[in-house]
Amino acid sequence: MAATKKKAIKKPEGQAQPAQTSAGAEWTGKSQAMFERMLQEVPEAMREIFRGKLMQVLQQKAGGGPFAENHVTEIVHEMVPEPFKTNILKAFSTLGDFDMNVVEEIIKANPGGPETVIAILHAIQERCGYLPREALMLVSQKKDVFLSALYRLATSYKAFRLTPPKKYAVTVCNGTGCHVKDGGKLLSELEKKATQHGSEITLETVRCLGCCDVSPAVIINGELYGGTEARAKIAEILHE
């Protein structure tokens, strides 16, 4: 059973190996993320063929030098038909502020098959604060795991998030120990405050932080607080 499931998630063998996008090339700025984002518009079955072709164009544009952001933008302007062009250019403007090289480094630091992806996702989230789609696409390509399988991991496991966190990350313990000590009340109170207009708070809950002695336990930007201190700290944040 386990074997068949693995097969379902891994891409069928025998398919052409994805072309190496970064062989000897140097990406500057967000150029690689932009390149990957552009390829997203291509149906998955044809993506690898397009990747190879567009890579050649990009190399010509760069003329042996490093790939720059404007090279990718030029390709989009010259070669991509509407409505994809508008879509892609719009996506470029909201592209996450992270370095694709970092993601590549992380993948290199975790050699091995699909069993390494959870560790990679952890590392990416640690560096970027969340899991950018472009980064997941690169992981999917390098580790030969379907993007949909990565999406399943990223949404099922509670440790991962797909959107950038706000300025204040507030994690409230919703374990039984904290619940008995009025953690439920604290949580609904904070929920109200976090959804206030213009609030810079990302509220998350977690099952047991292991600090039952300070319950109800709250982590605000990595620092642990007990119930009363947490209320004071939140009030302070909202006052800003």
Partner: protein, 570 residues
């Protein structure tokens, strides 16, 4: 230092003892997450600053947690020739005062909690005394640990090092006879002999189901295949305890040693430690400990020249309660979503990457060195005939002193709450308690005299689980509690089996309508039928037991549920 022979261990032990019973003053700060949360990091810095200011020769060391979580931050002071004194809570403001008293050679009575005249380093041999002769008069006012409520009722076999040694120094672990069990097993025993000791110990899994560990190992040992794995389950998703975290942060080498012994007995050369994704400090200390063990040659190829090789890897989980289930954990280790696999084949036959695998809980594996060193029969003397040994129990909820203790199995819940928890701390009476995490039954105060052992708890409709003990006082609304626990399962179901996935959802709705006053007797009978279907058809224990909290609340607190039901004609 490289350990090539068993004699090298005693050299390292001497070195370690010099650190533990030093010629100068040793000050330790409890720096597990529970301490760090209360500012242990700042206390450590403040201590260093004050010591420099007073020009004292003293070493300040970060150690783990000794279970006195309610008195964090904890500071211990060992001065040459004097007993070890535990102070707490030592906040940053009190540090200067404490250092002045250390300089004067007098104890700070106001903050002193307990005094250790000697250390029971090894469970069997004579204890090691800190000072010789009579205890100074000034110190006699502090309670000695053998007369102290918190310590005298505990039996520390597995957690004996926690809070005493530095988790990042292998020498200190070796000083307390660490790795001796591994060395003896490798040089003096055959794998079958080790296996026999574990079977004799009657040790049962400390994670939930309570399956005999020896039988699990034997099944894996006899399974066909040349590649086998040992997996430590540190997923610990139960929403009320953190004792594995505490243990990993305090004594990581005990787990490493236990896993290596397990590998030797089973014939595995590779191990994985799966750790809850939130346990950042534990992960760090575990990585550090593995590196040290590798450098010392206690992990790696050809350990102690015995020809046995064992390597360890740490994997961080993704944050899912279901990954505490052994087959879901294996899937997660393989980079998949944590979904239980159908059994058979059991992991002992076909586990990680399709190879025979032993999956044991962290506490189970940390117990192995004690059994290997002192013998299975000796270990079986503790506890009750069918539930042998000791168990770490984490107290949380409405207790005056939350924390963890290690007690022999067979102790009553009442004793634990009264001796260690010191009551509810709210002035109210205990109304109910729950053992074994969210899957456990919610039992009423009238059953407080129940003994903590696998069979008695199962008979009462609960389970020992991984040792969580949650106390609820009279202010708790039981129906609301049942709703909370059912919500937990609705949130954590992996979605594989339809009875569990849909069942918990419907159960949630039923409890919700009862709470809002729309519930009828029909609702209750539907819930009961559905719970039976879930118990029969779900693939793993999560689904099988998801309805337990509601059913036990219904059974033991019928008035709170039935009082809310809509009456006919109303």
């Amino acid at each position: 230092m490289k350990i090539n022979r068993i004699q090298d261990l005693s050299t390292m032990k001497k070195h370690g003892l010099k650190l533990l019973v030093p010629a100068a003053t040793r000050i330790t700060v409890g720096s597990a997450t529970c301490g760090l949360a209360k500012g242990a990091g700042k206390v450590l810095e403040a201590l260093k600053y004050e010591i420099k200011k007073h020009k004292l020769t003293a070493e300040v060391v970060a150690v783990g947690c000794n279970g006195l979580c309610f008195a964090e931050p904890i500071v211990e002071v060992i001065q040459p020739g004097k007993p070890r004194i535990t102070y707490g809570p030592v906040t940053v403001e009190r540090v200067a005062e404490l250092v002045t008293s250390i300089k004067a050679g007098k104890p700070l009575l106001e903050l002193a909690l307990v005094r250790h005249d000697e250390e029971l380093f090894c469970v069997k041999t004579a204890p090691l005394a800190y000072g010789k002769g009579k205890v100074p008069a000034a110190l006699s006012r502090i309670k000695e640990y053998r007369t102290h409520d918190f310590f005298k009722n505990q039996k520390k076999l597995v957690s004996k090092n926690a809070g005493t040694i530095s988790p990042s120094r292998i020498e200190e672990y070796v000083a307390l006879d660490g790795y001796l069990a591994l060395a003896q097993a490798l040089t003096e025993m055959t794998p079958d002999q080790v296996l026999k000791e574990v079977i004799d110990s009657k040790l049962r899994g400390r994670g939930g189901a309570g399956f005999p560990v020896g039988l699990k190992w034997q099944a894996c040992r006899t399974a066909a295949g040349d590649k086998k794995y040992i997996v430590a389950n540190g997923s610990e998703g139960d929403p009320e305890i953190g004792m594995h975290r505490s243990f990993l942060e305090s004594d990581p080498h005990a787990l490493i040693e236990g896993m290596a012994i397990a590998g030797y007995a089973v014939g595995a050369d590779e191990g994985y430690i799966y750790v809850n994704d939130r346990y950042v400090v534990a992960l760090e200390r575990l990585h550090e400990a593995i590196k040290q063990a590798e450098q010392a040659g206690l992990l790696g190829k050809n350990i102690l020249g015995s020809g046995f090789s064992f390597s360890l890897k740490v994997k961080r989980g993704g944050g899912a309660y279901v990954c505490g289930e052994e087959t879901a954990l294996l899937n997660s280790l393989e980079g998949l979503w944590g979904e239980p696999r159908p059994r058979p084949p059991y992991p002992a036959q076909q586990g990680l990457f399709g190879k025979p695998t032993v999956v044991n809980n962290i506490e189970t594996l940390a117990t192995i060195p004690v059994i290997a060193r002192h013998g299975g029969k000796w270990f079986a003397k503790f506890g009750t005939p069918r539930s042998s040994g000791t168990k770490v129990v984490a107290l949380s909820g409405a207790v005056a002193r939350p924390g963890w203790v290690e007690v022999p199995l067979g102790i009553t819940v009442k004793t634990i709450i009264e001796t260690f928890g010191k009551g509810t701390g709210t002035g109210k009476k205990v109304k109910a308690f729950q053992t074994g995490g969210p899957s456990g039954g919610v039992l009423p105060a009238s059953q407080l005299s129940i003994k903590l052992d696998y069979d008695q708890l199962a008979k009462a409709g609960s389970l020992l689980g991984s040792g969580g003990l949650l106390i609820m006082d009279e202010s708790t609304n039981m129906l609301e509690m049942a709703k909370f626990l059912t919500d937990f399962f609705a949130d954590e179901t992996c979605g594989k089996c339809s009875t569990c996935r849909e069942g918990v959802k419907r159960l949630q709705e039923i409890i919700g309508s009862i709470m809002q006053g729309y519930g009828t007797a029909e609702h209750i009978s539907v819930a009961k039928r559905m719970a039976a279907a879930m118990a029969d058809t779900a693939a793993c224990a999560l689904g099988k037991t998801a309805a337990t909290p509601f059913l036990t609340v219904l059974k033991h607190f019928p008035r709170e549920v039935e009082g809310k039901l809509l009456r006919k004609g109303a």
